[in-house]
Symmetry: D2
């Protein structure tokens, strides 16, 4: 087994999601981090690289330099993880795609439709692949749910209740110099508030599990935080192409909620309920029968996307790692895997953001594709 | 202690909610059931009365006879419970109010606005009182929640997430001669589907706890059951007069949900979460502190609306009984009690039903009062 | 339907369990409380009777007077509820049994074996019946569990894990004049501490569900409360006649536990888990299959011992009321009902208390019957 | 940052815990696996090494060869993970300790006291360290609990209720050639059944959190599986040196339990409850106050042993990885860390196993140290 060579753009000291990508890439031992443009601040970039054991010769001052140099090396990176704020996804994505290097990009796709288009254009002309880390799709029971819907265990899907509730922006943290709150509530860097940061996850997850796309939506967005420039709460009604109706709630001001991503799906034959904070259990009811508690890897589940026996909880990092593991398979084998979120998922998320903003600005008018 | 004399309209053999009212009226020993017009079918009425120990002389063939006769007796009933289908609330309510007998009416207020107006007119000219059994307000922790909101434990209320999910109408039960499904899905007898039968409960409960009224709403109603003539699922966005935003989901086709009434309320200082199926626990979080689990009658709660110590679960019937107990106090003492749902709550519920139907028919347009 | 006439011994103002019996007797409308010797304090007895609507002519100064007078009346009571402290069970029980009046006695049977023997002697010569309110057997899902074990859904029973944990005696409340703590920690009035007050409930419940009796036990009792004269924590190992092994934990000093009665039973084919604080759910696993959540009255359960549909929680009082309802059936019909705890259950409980005390005093030696 | 060089003994294809150690060693990027004696079967050893990217020159046919060769290399391993069945811990441990290489050994310490003594002897004369992977101590909330007990948040500890329930040996799996069941139920390879395999974890965890050692115990062991040669269920009473009393239940035949390690600790001021299957939540009650739900990294917790924010669940592998991370710190810095289980913990576990077996063989007699 040879490890794939991984680079990283962003993720220097003080960042959040970069460290998550690094752990996720290590868990199954398929990647080795060997290069990076870890920060736009050169000192921080160098210090971060040293801390991570990246050779100084492969710690770059800019992603452009990195793309050029790594593409030119015989031992250059196979893939790059892009873990910068949203408005900094497009530049690096295009640069590496153009250099023929696979891109693993954090979500949402971009901070604007123009940026999203730029990524799309680069992806269409590159032989390299583009992956989007909607990491919650890597949870074993989410994949289980998708398989169950696909094989009609729930019958015709009628209802999709998705929610993602947090409370960390209850107070205007961005005014206290909080780094994460800063860029995530800055429209120029994030492009949107709760709907982009967490709403796209809920939206993507519902699509992933149901296999259905949303046709139209009606949204009521709100900023509760004093002086906040983006939405911190979103109430959205959805209609799916297959006839299902849905609700999506995304909030960063729901006091007492930590990372409350929750999905409930009901068809005419069965229902499923899953919550991210206890991801190793999912309830499943066949109409007229007792509710069952399916456990990750437990009786009645499979095939398996898990590492350890039921009862030994896997968590957020393992779900994330499963994406990295799948990506390694795809890169190594050249085959496809429909379970890995891709450019189209990113574009769907961009539509979701824009449609929600537009609907809300128009008094909740239904907005289609 | 003398027991109040209670009559009942509806609730004969085969009915559901009548038996609930009877148990609720007995639990605290404040009422004695002595008269009834238990069924429009004379044989059933007589048999039901005999079964319940009502003297045959006080088992009436019609509510009109009963109102007249009981008003004329020196030992006539103090109050009557009206537990008929929705379209049969107005007639008896008006008759007993006009006869000076207090009315305890099941919800929703009526099947049409005309009927609701008739009740209102009768109530306005009667010295007798009108009570509406939105029984979930009788749960001790719901009253605890209301008190906490009122004393600003949650700060300024921002979000109201209410839901009431069942699955008993997943299949078109009304086509199989199912009595409850029959009238509850018949627009002429019920006036509405899920929004009336359970949506009004969720709507009322949110108002009760927050002390805020809804200003406008936007609704997406749907009938999933084959051939169903009323809504069996409702997705509704709400805006409260105090600035809060809300979502309300009512469904009778959510497979695996039994009686999933759930209320979550978030302010800028705290959050509360409660679910009817485990009503003796409520989670409460002050922003930045660990979540607390408040228990009925337990530490940090009170004053008390409960009978037995924490850990000895009270349920649906005790919550219902608390309304009856409070009503007995009000009748006996002539004082008021703002905790008991009344005519205005019934009218608010009628607005909710009409507004949701109108909004849904108009593509989700916001509808105000 | 005619109501049975009920008397009560004990249960005056300030008592706890008397009020519970009264509510339980009212819920299904099968009893009417018409007589009482509610307190050994004559003033309190009279005041309590008045409050409860008992005619002053049937409020007695002593249980002896009451037994004599009620037996002599043509409209005398059918049954008496004995809700005094443990050491006051035997006198009234014998008096009413001797008078031919059915006895509904609170648990445990008595404070001493001598008292228990006196009850036994009276019961053996009386045509009246003796019922013991191990009320937790009235929970619908406990009866469901018993039926499942009886029909071998769990296979051969291997393990019984019973516990009953409270925290109300964490501090030496009995030294502050707390009435309930006073008699319950006084060996002359209670006969035992946690093992008698709550341990017997757990013991009885395990026997009820498994249909097996304990053959031998080994106990480690402890008094943690400063100056406490009875056990407030019991750790007990059990061996059942059918080969099962068990653990029983009873505690009144487990901080954070309100009324944590919990039963887990495992056989070679299946397992059941139930907890009293959320009594409307029980988990059931067939070996090798997903865990199921059985709900009171829900799919996969029955026959029914419940009043309202699944999802509408019933609680402690309804379970208690089911005993009263069953007792009413037995008294009215003269038939038997093996589901109602009786004298033998009381004697088994007395053995349990004595064996636990003896074992603990002998360094945990196994004690048999 | 330089990675420590890690070797492994055992853990070839088909093994279970070896893969867990490898993931745990990778998560925080502190180790690199470079050498192994992965199987006693040479072909399997070579194939396993190749699969893991270990150079064939460092894939050894025996642990003796490996210890000698690696000690001699300038770039030899810093530490070795020993992940063989219990009876194969002593040989490799002694060999590597004697070679001056740090040992990370899976639990329990050994299959016999003689083997344990051999490890002890080697450790006492080696400058290298010995670590034992009682991995559950790595869970952040377990460390939180330990800190809370140490700072007297719970007051004087009174009660320790520990349990570890599984169901995978409900049927005699060892007779079907199941590899894990095979050695784990073979007394010569495992030394004990449930008490060794999982009971030692529960025992260790209780000691870890309370900071108290068990003084005496009384045990009732049982083999329910047909033809099983070791215990598959253990019921144990404990008395702690500090005056606390405890119960410990370990079972591999509790149908419906996956990996039910659970710890409940009660003092005279507070109580804690934690369950491994949902390890990111712990309930904490101060006597007389509402129960709190502490979350990993959430409000009211810390200092931190976690990687990602509250609400993003960490699991079994992260807890395990925390031990590896701590071990890396200790090896790198030469300092100590009382949080890492060590030889003494292993010896305590051996006492626990022997005492439980002896007590059970002597009819539950209390056995001391």
């Amino acid at each position: 087994m040879t490890r794939l060579k991984l680079g990283m753009v962003g993720g220097g000291q003080g960042a959040f999601i970069g460290a998550v990508h690094r752990i996720a890439s290590r868990i199954d031992g398929r990647f080795e981090l060997v290069a990076g443009a870890l920060s736009s601040d050169p000192d921080r970039a160098a210090a971060s690289a040293a801390e991570l054991g990246i050779a100084s010769s492969r710690s770059y001052a800019s992603y452009e330099d990195m793309a050029t140099a790594e593409a030119a090396r015989p031992d250059g990176i196979d893939a790059v993880a892009i873990v910068t704020p949203n408005h900094m996804h497009a530049g690096p994505s295009a640069a590496f795609l153009n250099a023929g290097i696979h891109v693993i990009c954090d979500k949402p796709l971009a901070a604007s439709n123009e940026e999203a288009d730029a990524i799309k254009a680069a992806a269409e002309t590159s032989k390299a692949r583009f992956f989007l880390t909607h990491n919650y799709t890597g949870y074993p029971l989410i994949r289980q749910a998708r398989a169950m819907v696909a094989r009609s265990d729930l019958g015709q899907i009628r209802l999709v209740q998705a929610e993602y509730a947090q409370d960390w922006l209850t107070e205007p943290l961005e005014q206290d110099g909080h780094k994460q709150a800063g860029w995530r509530t800055d429209p120029t860097r994030s492009g949107a508030g709760a709907i982009g940061d967490i709403g796209t996850h809920a939206f993507n997850l519902a699509n992933f599990v149901t296999g259905q796309k949303v046709q139209v939506l009606s949204a009521d967005l709100q900023s509760f935080g004093a002086g906040r420039k983006v939405d911190d709460n979103a109430h959205i009604l959805l209609r799916y192409e297959g006839g299902a109706r849905g609700m999506l709630w995304a909030s960063q001001v729901a006091v007492g909620c930590e990372n409350g991503l929750r999905l409930r799906i009901y068809g005419d034959k069965g229902g499923l309920e899953w919550a991210q904070e206890n991801p190793n259990h999912m309830s499943y009811t066949r109409f007229g029968e007792p509710k069952q508690i399916l456990t990750r890897g437990g009786a009645g589940t499979g095939p398996d996307w898990t590492r350890i026996p039921p009862g030994h909880p896997e968590g957020y990092l393992e779900g994330f790692a499963t994406l990295y593991n799948d990506i390694a398979d795809v890169i190594s084998s050249g085959t496809d895997n429909a379970l890995i979120p891709n450019l189209q998922d990113g574009l769907d998320g961009m539509w979701f953001i824009a449609a929600a903003q537009s609907s809300s600005a128009n008094d909740g008018a239904w907005v289609g594709r």
